[in-house]
Point group: C2
Chain length 207, copies 2
């Protein structure tokens, strides 16, 4: 039996619980001030387990910054139906967040770290920026792709912030499909609509 | 002369510099762990000055949570031209952020605290929620006002996050008017468009 309520080493989500605890502490007190002992305390595990899974604090940060879902795979195939890419993006991203509590804990920890830790913010910004830009590039053929991708980022980031981190009641309590219907056309507008007064030219269909 | 590069007590923005320093520290290490001495160190002022302006740490938190601009005044009169309220909201909010560096520092500190401190998040959520809801109530007469207000909040929050806190290049470097043109129609859509498949009924014009 594990002593005093500590999680057993083989618990299927021990690694995830450690990561969520680390993500929370990195966000609250910063990476420098977080100790392995505090992470262990919050996660309710023996400190030796953290070393077992992540070697050291740098390993923990790297793991905390890794997306639990491959964004390229999540957003694959959107170019096949460019007129509905907006709704599809909202549906798939919310689906990812709501698939299971473990992924959600990880993503929330990732968001907290990304918002508070300069290096983490940079890593996230680049990774998400590249991913969204790749999707946009498949859907539109325009010079203003970076702005379109960034605008999609502002709406999706604001949605995730309001629904999961701040918990604004009306967006927290809406169903995913309500949000797909309400926000999908906005993401679509940013992808292919007239953001600078004119609509985007479409990317030529691939052979 | 102030000793060793410290700001003079009468410096016009001393109070603002202290608030920005406090906001940054509250966000990074949390309210509990922040000491008055650290705030003074970061702000480059004598600790006695903080007591002079804010009495104690609670006073500092209260001041850090106060909006530097009255949101009701900022958003006044939007009901006079409901079809352009979306663009007006984006223009006025960006105008507020960009009016002067002092206000911007304060708002950025406020955002950092709001994203990391549970109590601050709640205060902000309520205050902004009520303000946006008031605007929405003037423009549309619908049961789904809370959802419309929250959707406006997600887009505006995501914009401010991307432009000022994360610094996503394409939204950081865009002009305010570019963003008004690109995002204004989205805010308008959330106010009066078919967010659940149908358009909003307008509020009846006032006598």
């Amino acid at each position: 039996m594990p002593p005093r309520g500590r999680r057993p080493a083989g618990g299927s989500d021990t690694r995830e619980v450690i990561l969520a605890a680390a993500g929370g502490l990195f966000a609250e007190v910063g990476f420098e001030r977080t100790t392995m002992r505090e992470v262990a305390g919050r996660a309710g595990v023996d400190p030796a387990l953290i070393h077992h899974y992540f070697v050291n604090k740098d390993g923990l940060l790297a793991a905390a910054l890794a997306l639990p879902v491959d964004p390229a795979r999540l957003l694959a195939g959107l170019d096949k139906d460019p007129d509905h890419a907006g709704q599809a993006i909202v549906r798939r991203v919310l689906g990812m967040w709501e698939a299971d509590p473990q992924t959600r804990r990880r993503l929330l920890a990732l968001m907290r770290v990304g918002l508070s830790h300069e290096h983490a913010a940079e890593v996230l910004r680049d990774l998400l920026g590249r991913t969204i830009l790749t999707v946009v590039a498949r859907v539109v053929a325009e010079d203003d792709r970076p702005l379109r991708a960034a605008l999609v980022g502002t709406q999706m980031g604001g949605l995730l912030l309001g629904r999961y981190l701040l918990g604004i009641p009306a967006v927290r309590d809406a169903t995913s499909e309500q949000l797909v219907v309400a926000i999908g056309p906005v993401v679509q507008h940013y992808l292919t609509g007239p953001i600078g007064g004119r609509a985007a030219r479409r990317s030529p269909p691939k052979a």
